[in-house]
């Protein structure tokens, strides 16, 4: 009865995962979808704790440990997720993803320990009959697959997290791609050797594979530039899904299998969609045309001319007498936590009869859709957010474009300079507007490390300073007018 009920629970959980994911891709139903999947997950966890029985009909024990772990994880997870600033969301997702990968790797390690232990109690490896050997090999294969994928995902996510946090910088050495490929090949060959031949030193080989996989995870993410981190996180997300599915194979557990593969497939597609939004291929992202090596080949460097600075009061004056203003928010706005101040500015301008909208590039901020989340947090109306195509049509009829901490998404080099690393990426054509005011902290190149010619164009005026401070001062000036 109990185990049949558990099978039903797992079935329902798998269905909630599918429905949840489906609803997550529609704006209006997304939140409910998330809750449905969460409910399915809660049922699956509770069912496993109370109803699970192994092949011999033994229930689980160590309940104190299980509940202790669940409690600690739940409290820490809730606190971390509640406290994290909206701007730090991408790191958080990466961190949680790494936890999942580590969990899968730990399961593999413990199960390997069981396997070795059982073998020692049976007898030497050589005396075992072939069907048993085959079963053993398959079991081991799944364990090793979970180990490799889980630990790559863990190590990679940790590096991605640290990079987004600014804790570590891009790091490349000559021939790193070849090194990475060689490393992956070695891991693969060792795994095949271990599972296919069951060599005598198998135990130490297992831990060598673990170490190399962790190393690969680090070197895989290290050379990829900060701007491409979302794509990498999405890819690692799907890796963790596959690692979870390995667990499903191991325990013959359909909920783990469906959930894991579902995320593996959806995550891979999402990764590709994200690349498409930047008009690049996945290969191009992974081999990396951004990043430290390309910083010097920005293309625009030689053309650096003079830029024009504008004072706060002049900027306020221009905006005060404009009819239509489009704000282009970018990463700088997110860093300065200026989304609320930005909304205030919008309200003051609206009160003065100026029409204000926002132009959102698909990859503005640090992740696709990140900017929408940030502005939503500040209560900016959904109707005011224009997507790229819409905004590009609206620019010619716009008096002032205010670029707040955005850089690469308005860089004309993407259209004009074939040598630029971002060549081909669709951009916001802010130059079509009558005037462009760019707020930046300094003339330093942006997130992707590419010079931006826009700043040197005659229509553009620069307004230096921290986005939040500048916006507050602008509001002050506007109030005084």
């Amino acid at each position: 009865m109990g185990s049949n009920l558990l099978i039903l629970i797992y079935l329902l959980a798998s269905i909630t995962f599918i429905i949840g994911l489906k609803m997550l891709s529609h704006p209006a139903r997304a939140r409910r979808g998330n809750l449905i999947a969460a409910a399915g997950m809660a049922a699956a966890i509770a069912g496993t704790v109370f109803l699970y029985k192994d092949e011999d009909g033994n229930a689980l024990h160590n309940y104190a440990w299980i509940f202790g772990g669940l409690l600690i994880g739940a409290i820490a997870g809730t606190v971390a997720a509640r406290k994290v600033k909206m701007t730090a969301m991408p790191e958080m997702v990466s961190l949680f993803n790494g936890m999942g990968g580590a969990c899968a790797a730990l399961i593999a390690i413990v199960e390997f320990g069981h396997l070795v232990h059982n073998l020692q109690s049976v007898s030497g490896l050589t005396a075992i009959d072939t069907t048993f050997r085959d079963g053993l090999k398959q079991h081991l294969l799944i364990i090793v697959a979970g180990l490799v994928i889980g630990s790559i995902s863990f190590a990679g996510s940790m590096v991605a997290w640290a990079k987004l946090n600014g804790k570590i910088r891009d790091f490349v050495f000559k021939g790193q791609h070849l090194f990475n490929i060689a490393l992956l090949l070695i891991i693969f060959l060792l795994a095949v050797y271990l599972t296919g031949w069951l060599p005598a030193g198998g135990v130490s080989l297992f831990y060598i594979i673990l170490g190399l996989s962790l190393l690969y995870g680090v070197f895989f993410v290290m050379p990829i530039g900060g701007a491409d981190m979302p794509v990498v996180i999405s890819l690692l997300n799907s890796f963790t899904g596959v690692a979870a599915a390995c667990g499903g194979f191991l325990y013959n557990n359909k909920a783990m299998l469906t959930g894991g593969i579902l995320v593996g497939a959806a995550g891979t597609l999402l990764t590709i969609l994200m690349c498409k939004a930047m008009n690049r291929s996945l290969m191009n992202v992974l081999i990396g045309s951004f990043g430290a090596t390309d910083k010097s080949t920005g293309g625009g460097k030689k053309e650096q001319g003079n830029y024009k600075e504008i004072s706060l009061s002049d900027a306020a004056m221009i905006m005060n007498y404009a009819h239509k203003i489009i704000i282009v928010p970018g990463y700088g706005l997110a860093v300065a936590q200026a989304q609320h101040t930005c909304h205030e500015l919008e309200k003051i301008l609206e009160a003065k009869g100026v029409e204000v909208t926002y132009a959102i590039h698909p990859v503005a901020g640090r992740m696709p859709g990140h900017m929408n989340v940030l502005l939503a947090e500040a209560d900016v109306s959904y109707d005011k957010l224009q997507e790229m195509e819409q905004a590009n049509e609206a620019f010619p009829a716009t008096d002032v474009v205010l670029v707040l901490g955005a850089n690469d998404v308005v860089n004309p080099a993407a259209k004009t300079d074939p040598t630029s690393p971002i060549y081909g990426m669709p951009i916001l054509d802010v130059e079509l507007a009558k005037a462009v005011i760019v707020n930046k902290r300094s003339m330093k190149p942006g997130y992707a490390g590419i010079e931006n010619n826009l700043f040197f164009r005659p229509k553009t005026s620069m307004l230096f300073g921290d986005a939040k401070k500048v916006l507050q001062d602008l509001i002050g000036e506007l109030k005084a007018l």
Binding site: L60, G248, V373
Partner: protein, 113 residues
């Protein structure tokens, strides 16, 4: 070769599930708007937290005197729970904002006029 064939025949049910799930996963999010990429990634991140089930089983089957297995299993349960709970809460927080703004903006636009 024979090993592969026997693997497939022994696990054919699982392999069917894997194959079908790949298509379901692709189909289900095929038309997601770019705006929802971040929440969707976060939601998917929470769903692969099902790996927690494996962690619970590992923990629950560990022998009482097998301290390495107990310690690793315990750690696995904590990390898995972090993944699940943190993932769902973060996603909900992101989506809460989407929901909130859909209703409030219309009021705000009407009020000033």
């Amino acid at each position: 070769m024979e090993a592969i064939l026997s693997f497939i025949s022994q696990h054919q049910q699982m392999i069917y599930i894997v194959t079908l799930m790949v298509f379901v996963g692709i189909e289900v999010i095929g038309h997601v708007p770019a705006v929802l990429h971040t929440p969707l990634m976060s939601g998917a991140n929470a769903i692969h937290g099902v790996v927690i089930i494996g962690a619970i089983i590992v923990m629950g089957q560990a022998a009482k005197d097998n301290y390495p297995a107990l310690a690793l299993g315990f750690l696995a349960v904590i990390l898995g729970t972090l993944n699940v709970v943190g993932g769902f809460v973060v996603t909900d927080r992101m989506l809460e904002m989407f929901g909130g703004k859909r209703k409030s903006p219309k009021k705000e636009i009407r009020n000033p006029k």
